[in-house]
């Protein structure tokens, strides 16, 4: 089995799945109906991405497991999503900031992945690049709106940024395995992604009048399966039915 591809697909799949889960929790909680639809739409896109990445992981693994098995039968120590994805829905500013910080990564990531030497990854990116282009348009507009809206909205947004910034460093960590994948043109380079990402977020924060936090301590662990306490609850909820009725088909 190609371990490197398996691990990469899992990380991506898990990140999409957990982020989708957080957005799904917002269903019927939006500030107005149109935004509720937008959120569920993005949640649905991310879920589609998760399904594709996890299906690829399952296929690469070659042990007869399915995407569902990977989503529903691994425990929290076997999940490799970014810590940022599991941050709770504290308020609309947090939700939108978390989303924007991800979108600013996922869009250039998919753009690079489209050129992957691995045709499966390139195929997934083909779809992802279109969706993520829309997502970043949506979230960056909200960052600007809230930043330029009222004093209250600006303060809440800055709070969200200050809180979440700590979790962004991890998104650009990579190991030897991933360095090789990048060198071989299978995945985009993490260094380049970071440069693009930083440029995008700084531009949007600048327009929104937000202060980019000074580089400080960055949290890490998601990529090794060491998460915040929040993830366990999310997974317990997500997996409850297949775990409680292991013989049932759904």
């Amino acid at each position: 089995m190609d371990n490197a591809i398996y691990n990469y697909a899992l990380r991506m799949g898990d990140t999409c799945l957990i982020l989708s889960h957080r957005l799904a929790e917002r269903c019927s909680n939006g500030p107005f109906l149109e935004e509720d639809i937008a959120m569920t739409n993005i949640s649905l896109d991310l879920l589609g991405g998760a399904d594709l990445f996890l299906s690829l992981a399952a296929e690469v693994e070659g042990e007869g497991r399915s995407a569902d098995d990977l989503a529903y039968r691994r425990n929290e120590r076997q999940y490799y999503n970014h810590l940022l994805a599991e941050r709770p829905n504290k308020n609309f500013a947090h939700v939108m900031m978390r989303q924007f910080l991800h979108d600013a990564l996922l869009h250039p990531l998919y753009t690079g992945l489209k050129l992957s030497k691995n045709e499966h990854l390139a195929g997934i990116a083909e779809k992802g690049v279109k969706e993520s282009a829309y997502h970043i348009r949506h979230s960056s507009m909200w960052i600007v709106r809230l930043g330029k809206g009222t004093d209250d909205s600006k303060e809440k947004l800055q709070d969200a940024l200050d809180d979440l910034w700590t979790y962004t460093g991890e998104m650009f960590e990579y190991n030897d395995e991933e360095a090789t994948l990048a060198k071989d043109g299978v995945i985009p380079s993490f260094e380049e992604l970071k440069t693009t990402w930083l440029k995008t977020v700084k531009e949007v924060f600048n327009e929104a009048g937000l202060e980019v936090p000074k580089d400080k301590w960055m949290a890490t662990g998601g990529r090794q399966g060491v998460h915040s306490e929040f993830l366990g609850h999310m997974i317990a909820e997500m997996q409850y039915l297949p775990r409680a009725y292991p013989d049932a088909k759904w």
Binding site: E25, C27, L33, L47, R145, L146, A248
Partner: protein, 312 residues
């Protein structure tokens, strides 16, 4: 044109099955009745997001999760179409939401029942959406243009909802003993409330007689209810599930005679005394209030934007 003449023209249009459009003259009662019915319909779609939304994070497979998300999204969309139709009558969505919060406007009583298991999600799609579709198909011919057009769109989009529900119930009815039990339990709890969705019997429904005269409503509560029962009972039989009505009986004409509906329960729930009334309304109010600062920010930003446009 004087009012008598306007009214004559209005009735001529109704008679001729022409649609009444927003700027047409209409009797004040007609307008009020429409606002009541359409807003109730819109609120039902939106409140209906809650019991189903409650299960997205617990959907037992990625496919089931996707389908449920897409379905709830449709419901939000349908709420929007209906609010828009209602707004053409000169009432703002803000006001409509306020009426909901003050309990001056109602929503379908079915959503005041809890959705307790994954089989309930199936039963909601199969029975609740099934009942809604019977009603909505009939409403495509409603006399108010914007309402009718919203219904046409909704019917087109909803056709997958009932299938989604029936698929879940089928899976469970054919699954393990525990799944089968959940499916039967869901049917037991949701059957009667689904029948109540069509409203009181014709003899106890004064609103409905008026609405029929105006052709806002096209078919009577009892007729629609009967149509739903006749359609649904065989679907339950195919699955080997039993309808919780000992008086149910197939008649010579192919329709089903059914037992007495517990109208006391219906009126209790409509008047706010159902298992989830308070929870549903509280949730809506909370989300609305929590979103207030976001809307304010968006208003402020929108104003500065439109100033820019005018200056340019």
């Amino acid at each position: 044109m004087d009012e008598a003449k306007q009214e004559e023209l209005f009735w001529k249009k109704i008679e001729a099955e022409e649609k009444i459009e927003p700027k047409d003259w209409m009797p004040e009662d007609y307008r009020k009745n429409l606002i009541r019915q359409i807003s109730q319909h819109a609120h039902s779609e939106v409140i209906g997001m809650q019991p189903e939304g409650n299960w997205i994070t617990r959907a037992p497979s990625l496919r089931a999760k996707k389908v449920l998300l897409a379905k709830i999204q449709d419901e939000a969309g349908h709420g929007l179409y209906l609010y828009s139709a209602c707004e053409t009558l000169g009432v703002s969505r803000d006001t409509l939401i306020e009426q909901l919060h003050q309990q001056k406007a109602k929503y379908s009583s079915i959503f005041n029942y809890p959705v307790l298991s994954w089989a309930d999600i199936g039963a909601v799609g199969w029975l609740v959406d099934g009942a809604a579709i019977v009603n909505q198909v009939s409403l495509q011919r409603t006399s108010y243009g914007p309402y009718s057009r919203a219904m046409v769109r909704i019917c087109k989009e909803e056709s997958f909802h009932q299938r989604q529900g029936y698929e879940i119930i089928t899976q469970m009815a054919n699954g393990t003993a525990e799944q089968r039990e959940m499916a039967q339990d869901a049917l037991n709890r949701l059957w009667w409330p689904s029948l109540m969705m069509f409203g009181p019997t014709d003899k106890d429904s004064p609103n409905s007689a008026k609405a029929m005269k105006w052709k806002i409503k096209r078919e009577s509560n009892d007729l629609l209810r009967q149509r739903f029962i006749d359609k649904t009972v065989p679907q339950a039989e195919i699955l080997g599930l039993s309808i919780p009505d000992p008086d149910l009986e197939l008649q010579a004409d192919g329709s089903y005679k059914f037992g007495e509906i517990n109208w006391q329960e219906f009126y209790d729930v409509v008047q706010g005394n159902g298992p989830c009334n308070k929870q549903r309304l509280d949730h809506h109010i909370k989300a609305h209030n929590e979103g207030a600062w976001v809307r304010e920010a968006a208003i402020a930003y929108g104003m500065s934007k439109s100033k820019e446009t005018i200056a340019a």
